[in-house]
């Protein structure tokens, strides 16, 4: 059994356990296998940023960012 197949089987079992959703077709299994790339992408971001200590919201960030670089 390939590493990819093991990964997919593990994820299918996890999804079934946590959500009660079954793989609807072969394409779904292929796309599930593509999550390996997402995992690598998240791994690559580890340690690059920190969480904010204080309460924040994306809506507030939008308002704050609206004035960045605006010239009089």
């Amino acid at each position: 059994m390939s590493e990819k197949t093991k990964f997919v089987n593990h994820m299918v079992a996890s999804i079934s356990t946590w959500h009660g959703v079954q793989p609807p077709n072969e394409v779904a299994l292929r796309m599930l296998g593509d999550l390996e790339k997402l995992i690598r992408d998240f791994e690559a971001l580890r340690g690059t940023m920190r969480f904010e200590d204080e309460p924040a919201s994306f809506e507030a960030a939008l308002v704050e960012a609206a004035s960045i670089g605006v010239r009089a």
């Binding site: 959703v21 796309m31 940023m49 924040a56 960030a61």
Partner: protein
Amino acid sequence: MTAAGLDLADLSLVDAADAVRKGEVSAVSLLEACLANLDSHEAAVNATIWVDKEAAFTAARAADAKRAKGGPLGPLHGLPLAHKDMYYQAGRLSSCGSAIRRDFVPDYSATVIERLSAAGAYAFAGLNMAEFAQNGTGHNRHHGDCHNPWNLSYITGGSSSGSGAAVAARFTFAALGSDTGGSIRLPAAANGVSGIKPTQTRVSRYGVMPLSFSADNVGPLTRTARDCARIMSVIAGHDPRDPTSAEMPVPDYEAGLTGDLRGVRIGMPSTYFLDEVDVPVRAAIEASTSVLAGRGATIVPLTLSLMDAVATYAAAVSRVEGATIHAEWMRQRPQDFATHINARMFPGYAIPATYYVEALSRRGPILKEFAKEVFSQVDLLVTPTIRTCLPTLAATDIDNGPPGTEQVALGISTNTRPFNYLGLPSMSIPCGFDPNGLPIGLQISGRPFAEAAVLQAADAYQRDTDWHARRPAIAAV
């Protein structure tokens, strides 16, 4: 078609609205022109899911009667519009492009529909779309694929497939789309029309089918940037029924369209957005920057350092939220989704909550960092809307294609999705044609709530080009 041979449906939305206000054309004649095009070409394009001609003529006659009486008229008075079939209108079908909601009739209306109605417009059709707004190509297994009016074998882009195709085919003067990863800008690019995704929170989402709570946006597809400006002036602004909508003042977007870009700095990123770009697309974008420079803008090469994080987090957020919304149907009736829809949602259940929270928690800080990096140097960004020449329906048919087709189909939104994660306003306008005769889109993006600046640049570009005015010769079937 008038006696003089002019197709009234060829008018821009603004020109059509102004002609009605002045009494130069009737609302009924505008509707007749749109329906004539629809009757001639809908069998080929398949842009609609339902059409209500009887109600449309009632509305058009009422608009003409109101004008005849005198009194104030709205900025869209007497205009026949059609929208992606996911904008709730009380008592009317809203299929969301699905089989599951094939018979869904809401008992209330979306705020944006009410605002368009208050401005004098009326909706006469529900437009084809990707099932539950979940693909970027325009395939639809339940209502039939939507076909590109420029070449019926090619994709329309999605998910607002019918919105892009119907505007290009002159079935309507404007259409609402929705944009979670590019679903307004992709069909705008693919069909050679103009479409804007506003800043996240700029336009109410009340009464609009949700896909991703964090990334969904409402916006128009039209013939011109000025048309988009007029629609935006009508639909933007806080809505008490959508507590996520911003309480920011709404400018008069049309008033800002001066054509003058002196002092405007426009960045052209050399990283990410041009990776593996097709040669004709790159050439069209570079030619576009010359046009913008000719209007006074300064073009600034940019290197972006945050795109890996933006792309990664954007992918996680939309997948998880889409999977969550559809979880009950995925458990109970997964066979009622098309293969490419349930297959796309399925991996969303495997993404851990910690990844999702990480992606959302970092969204604000990344936006602020992105803004400091980019908007301290420039006012706007220009990029290709789609990196490649437009693919065919067959080449992106996940349900029937070989393994790997999904990568081609999902890759369509590589350049649009980052702006959904960042929440920035972003617009696509036509800027040329590829060697196959399919349109190429120029994506213009700006600071949060800077729709006016985006529209100003788009309008300035369209004053010196005619890509937006070209009309497809639709093949008969």
